[in-house]
């Protein structure tokens, strides 16, 4: 379960950020899940909550909020913009992109000019959007 590795990363980062902000207690963690990485939302939420429950008082009671962000691409050659359509991919390709979203450049092409030279403008992967807490 790759979701566990990313949840672990979120916990480590939340703790580090909370210490930097001198928070006494984190009450909420908002994580944005970029569509391109196709994170299993329920597994990720479960993993994150399980890990938080085993942490110290700094983050233990934090409420987890997950936001979804649509993935959007922009071609650098013809400037066409388009959305990610996971359902059009085979399972092996979808899984490869799930592990390393950048490998999308090995499989996806601009729908207009077929270029692989596109930017992922939004919705790449897991992002710690915000922390709420008490000082």
């Amino acid at each position: 379960m790759h979701e566990w590795a990313l949840a672990e990363a979120v916990v480590a980062t939340a703790k580090r950020a909370a210490r930097e902000q001198q928070l006494r207690r984190v009450t909420g963690i908002t994580v944005r899940l970029g569509e391109l990485q196709q994170i299993e939302r329920e597994i990720f939420k479960f993993a994150l909550e399980q890990m938080l429950a085993h942490e110290d008082a700094l983050v233990r009671d934090a409420k987890v909020v997950l936001e979804r962000e649509r993935a959007r691409f922009r071609c650098r050659v013809c400037h066409r913009e388009w959305d990610f359509q996971a359902e059009e991919l085979g399972s092996e390709i979808a899984e490869a992109i799930h592990f390393i979203p950048e490998v999308a450049h090995a499989y996806l092409r601009c729908p207009s000019c077929r270029s692989p030279d596109f930017d992922v403008m939004a919705g790449r992967g897991v992002w710690l959007a915000s922390l709420e807490g008490e000082e």
Partner: protein, 252 residues
Amino acid sequence: MDPRVAIISDRLKSIKKIIAIAAGKGGVGKSTIATGLALVLSQLGYKIGLLDLDFYGPSSHVILGLSEEIQPREERGIVPPTVHGIELMSLVFYTGKNPTPLRGPDLTNALIELLAITRWGDLDFLIVDMPPGMGETTLDAIRFLKNPSFLIVTTPSRVAHETVGKLLALLSELNIAILGVLENMRRSSDRARSSFGVRVVGELPFDEGLEDALGDPERFLQTEFAQRLREIASAIFPLPEPRASPPPSLRL
């Protein structure tokens, strides 16, 4: 805030030493030396991992003769498969034979993702096959890998020496440990041409039999190239301390 960066040091905790095999330019034999070094160190009794960061032209898997069905295992991250005693991680597991054109920020993102999710075992050495030059991935490797030591590969060519000088200057400026320079593809007629100001750890011969041994590690280890690499590795690294053997199990 990118959550992945904070976890990288945890993921590298089980590794005693990271050795980056780098060069100022392509085509000098970095991948062959990185993979060869992994094989000979493993043979000497070290626990070895091999990380292929040459994202445009990964080739460690070719030298190891990896069959296509071998894949990392998913277990709270990804666990590298063990190939001929070496834990191998490469982007090729996710791209196969497809070309993977990546711009700078994508290279950085792919590297961070790989480092954040790969769960290495207890390793004496992680050998890193670097891309040529001093671009995105070289700078990122310096930024994210903990205290890497660089082994620089060159050929006897003046062109390669020119670029090595620049890479060494950069690494020195950044206070990065340099194990030394390794000169590859040396023929008996080549004139000695050096003085990099750092230790030249050895010379590897131009070995006519090497190409045919690529993809077959057993045969690779028999080549003159591998034998010489073994001598060089034994001279640079002390022999590993014997690992504590597991307690004998009682058969009742």
